[in-house]
Symmetry: D2
Subunit: 403 residues, 4 copies
């Protein structure tokens, strides 16, 4: 047992930290300003983003998330996690390093399960940060907390598949660079429960694909990325676009979600760290009732509890990453379910305290606290609500004592 980061990790941490300090934080408001200067917040990508991406690529801080040596940095989950945390401190951070969801998960799916042709067509430009992609799984009509509820259909017709269904929360669908959806639906409703589903690649410009609207999150549009409600009506794609094969949807989803959850959690930990930092600075610069806010006992308690909750959430997430690396996603199932509950709830608490310490400024956009909060809140729902993960943890715990 050893709680120190490796030298390799420390060196990456320094590089990413420097990059964030020098290039990312100072450009957050420029990014927002450029976005607002456009005709519409959806019409293009703020130019500063491409500059930042080029610079990160130059410095070798690119595709760090991808454990595959051929395509990415070849870092383990345990090595990438602390870097992911640093990127998550800024809402524009992950994209700068080509490490933002849902592209990371989509790239990993393509790298692990994609055919050579699929890799060439889609993985390459994604790895280069030229195009973006979305993931179309959740449906408005059913409780997606139970994935077997999915109703969309993928029906074979000759050497094509015909796709029908309404999806929403297809994040990234608003991005003008978004070219691809990974679509989940049922190829065979009569197969055993976990073999009914398949995943298929759908170019967004295919006939029958309509982005109805972009869904806001607590008032945030998340432009130009956004969360799309998309109709797929008799959409036809060649059968070569199926990933891995019919009935593999569930298996791919399981593989995809493990690392994705680590990433989500570590980004939230980064967001919470930054919030705590901002809280500490703010309360040392403001006075009320004749002393700095920092001398109020209640605020000190917020700080202590935040530090305590942060440390614990990070350790548990790193342990989950370690187990994924050493004994595999399946053996790490409990840990992954646990962090998916812990990290968003911890981040929400820390962010909420930071908001409260900032007074009304905290709920505005003068700080990124409110936006990060909204983001963290969705992560109590995205990739399964807390309740489903707790169910999973309890089931595994109870099974230890079953006769």
């Amino acid at each position: 047992m050893n709680f120190d980061y490796s030298e390799k990790v420390k060196s990456f941490q320094e590089k990413v930290t420097s990059f964030m300090d020098e290039h990312v934080y100072p450009n957050e408001s420029l990014y927002e300003a450029q976005l607002n200067e456009q005709d519409s917040r959806w019409s293009g990508i703020p130019p500063i983003m491409d500059e930042l991406k080029s610079r990160a690529k130059e410095q070798g801080l690119w595709n760090l998330f991808l454990p595959d040596h051929t395509y990415g940095a070849g870092l383990t989950n345990l090595e990438y996690a602390p870097l992911c945390e640093l990127m998550g401190r800024s809402l524009i951070g992950p994209e700068v390093f080509n490490c933002s969801a849902p592209d990371t998960g989509n790239m990993e799916v393509l790298a692990r399960y994609g055919s050579d042709e699929q890799k060439k067509e889609w993985l390459r430009p994604l790895l280069n940060g030229e195009i973006r992609s979305c993931f179309s799984m959740t449906e408005p009509e059913v409780a997606s907390s139970d994935a077997t509820n999915i109703q969309s259909q993928i029906q074979r017709d000759g050497n094509e598949y015909v796709i029908n269904g309404r999806k929403w929360w297809s994040s990234g669908a608003g991005d003008p660079r978004c070219r691809l959806a990974i679509f989940m639906g049922k190829t065979n409703p009569d197969a055993p429960r976990h073999e009914q589903q398949s995943m298929i690649l759908v170019p967004l410009d295919t006939e029958g694909v309509t982005v109805n609207r972009m869904l806001p999150v607590f008032g945030y549009d998340h432009a130009p990325h956004g969360h799309g409600e998309i109709d797929f009506k008799n959409v036809r794609v060649p059968d070569s676009q199926i990933i891995w094969g019919e009935g593999k949807g569930f298996a791919i989803a399981q593989g995809r979600l493990g690392p994705g959850r680590i990433h989500h959690c570590m980004r939230l930990i980064g967001a919470a760290e930054r919030a705590l930092e901002e809280l500490c600075k703010r309360v040392q610069s403001r006075e009320a009732f004749h002393k700095p806010l920092a001398d109020q006992g209640v605020i000190r308690e917020w700080i202590a509890d935040s530090r305590i909750e942060l440390e614990q959430a990070r350790l548990l997430t790193l342990k989950a990453a370690y187990k994924m690396d050493t004994v595999g996603n399946k053996q790490a199932k409990t840990e992954i379910a646990m962090i998916k509950v812990v990290a968003p709830n911890m981040a929400l608490k820390v962010l909420d305290r930071a908001i409260q310490a900032h007074g009304a400024a905290g709920v505005s956009n003068d700080f990124t606290l409110a936006a990060q909060w909204a983001n963290a809140r969705t992560l109590r729902l995205a990739d399964g609500p807390d309740e489903v993960h707790r169910r999973q943890v309890a089931k595994l715990e109870l099974s230890k004592y079953k006769e």
Copy 2:
């Protein structure tokens, strides 16, 4: 002791409930649609609002908040509170009945402390719902949780006052009908601590008044109402615009805040009631893991806890209203401080559970849950953060046992 509403209240409750059912809820999305059809969300008021206001006025459901018989409905706080709750169920509700903040508080100030001239010029059109107003107290540079921190100046110069200061969170300043700010500042920084401040009426079109920007709340712009950051630079108004007299700012603020807090709290209770109703309906219409969500024990616990917290918050708020009516604002100080902590926190919990029960739909604008949540969150800060109210409650409690 008696826990039943009076016949008078019951009759009003029926009328307001019917009005909400028939006219308000069915037009919420129309209101939003009309707002979005405009050139800008700030450029005008959705026409449906005027229709609704006329109808409410016709039915005598107008200015119910004003205890003064001459100008308003003459209801006591205890009588108005349960009606205010009903209006708060919809974000567009209070305005329909000319009962929305900050106009209610401003009208009350004018009715109680205004000169005849001030009443004629400002109170009349406000009571008629022709114009709107804002309240300029909070400042960006200092912690407003301690009201003695206020830095703005109101300096006499002949028979004029010269006003200087930067204010923010002047809610309603974005409304094209907003004509008036009640401005709080120091007329005499050398006076005893609670006599330094005054309130003065500033027409928004006076030279030197500039609305710099509108502040968002968790991504919501709250257009066309909005929250303004306003610069007052050498703004000159006749000395007749001072309210009640120099040095009365604090006293007026105290008087203004009591009923205002009841209103805020009751609206939040209404919002929470509606959220619980929506939660109950949603979970009976969705299935996961082979049974309705309503049969999940955890969700039943949310429902029970919500009902429990709601009932308690309502009783405490009604008791605060009762004490204000019977022994006065000063004697009701503890109760008012308590409800200001209880109601927003209760509403946040109930709304959060309802959001969670709605899945991702809950964080979008397909329901009003997320918007109501953002609203409730600001009320842990507006009119004093929780921490200041808890301080107050503790101080009064400890004083019982001081030797």
Copy 3:
């Protein structure tokens, strides 16, 4: 709606408060000392108790709990509740006024459902405070949270009933004056679910009744009262001892529990009030880090939250009492379930804060905080665990929206 106590209640409050101040609090440690001086803590009743009882009787502060005018004070639930609160401030308080559980519930059952003979034999001496009684419902072998689980049998044999079963948590069974158990068991396991059970009077000296042991609560023996585990083996009583009739057990239990829950909750509210008072005094008399504990912001927050939670719990309990008085136990079902969750949890929080503020002294018996805590903790289980009451509240809430 009116939140003031009636003059009648105020007058009783004054009398009970004076009595507590003059006679009860000053004798708490004497009671404990006399108990410890005995051969065994179970062998007798501290003489001070009889003195206090005589004095209370003299002053007409006797059997205040009983709404029946013939036998008791004839106060409504709403009138008795605030007096019950005062008695609950001391662990020896309720007995002094002949208002302690389970005798209160047992007396009420006898007054409402007992035959004349039963009243003469048992109700009279109970009302006089000459004997005590216990209530034998809970069983060790089954989850009593679901009352239909009860396994004990009451079988008719000629004009006798033969009783078999093991009961525990028969509170009061340790008292040397305890003469009677009200026993619940099944007379007809084949009847409809809520008509299988009956209640029967069993003199404790009947052959076949054995008190196996007294159960401690968090280390407290609660002597001389205590909680008995009792075996009933072929216990024979005349059939005249059945209460109301066969199959009425459930109905009686429902009737018995309503007022009993009000009493439990109000006593807990009293205990919490006293704890808050002791907390406030303690923190004003101790210093740490160069200032009184009372000046620590965190402790002020405890005080404020305690006051807030107390007020809400009291209002809800009073409303439950009011509803019982005005629309009956059945209509007050939700309120009764709610307070049964609220009051113990509130009391535990307030007591826990008071303990923490007292430092290590708080967990000892130098104050009654720890003992009151243990008592409150059992009330999250006794008369149904929190979870069952929440279930009930949720069920009623959901039913409002069932199609």
Copy 4:
């Protein structure tokens, strides 16, 4: 970074686990029975304890806590922590392995700071488990959360010291084998704040030492160990009994508390693990409302939250141990303060859920849940209340951002 226990640790874990399974758990009730058979619970040590100790010593499971190779097992904090956890699962566990507080801390003080003579006289018999000792620091008259409050005096008089003061919570003072107190008091009230205090060895049979009474904890007497209130009146000991030298009291306390806190926390983690195990077993064996309690969603949530909180608390405690081993107590200050808050609160929550799941049985002594709860509750106060540790964490956090 590596989250696996070393082979050495795993081997010890197996041995301790086997020992607990075979010898400790099966004898818990025998220990209690033997204690109750004595004339008084304070008059002797249940014979089973000596048998268990002999057996543990034989198997080399003895003094595992002592990092010093000469006197103990020479394990690091990180190596001992998981073994300490296992021992903590039983209330009689730690003593069996000669690893129980406060002897462990006292032995460590003697091993690190004691003179050769002191070691010979006191350390040897303690290491052999022949005698026991107590630690007399806390005083009834002052808030011990601030250690500078201590009022006891240690005054030099020739080649003796004269000791005066009243101490309480001297744990272990009730044990008939207890021979020694380590006493903390002021040798020089005029010295700099952290050099006023000294520690001195006081044989309990010295004239002037009187154990006034034993303090209960939530009704538990903790016999034969117990918590003593001790008067020291003009107690004279040779000056050779001072530890390390005058003015070193604070420094020794700091050194003593670090490992002691790890031990307390790990024992609590063990207690919580056992509680969760018992909870899981119980709910699979009981039915209510037609299904096993284990199928109630709310109970599953308790299980999940317990597992989640346990894992996090353990990781943080192990990290604190690791930092103590690698960078020293001083650098590990934040981590030590954090676990002292986390572990007791976590254990209380898990134990409370287990109690609730056991119904009324949970508050009795049929399980060790209630006793473990009372124990955990005191640890929110012992060695500094939560609030002092949070203060410490906040101070260190804020200092990162001080200009």
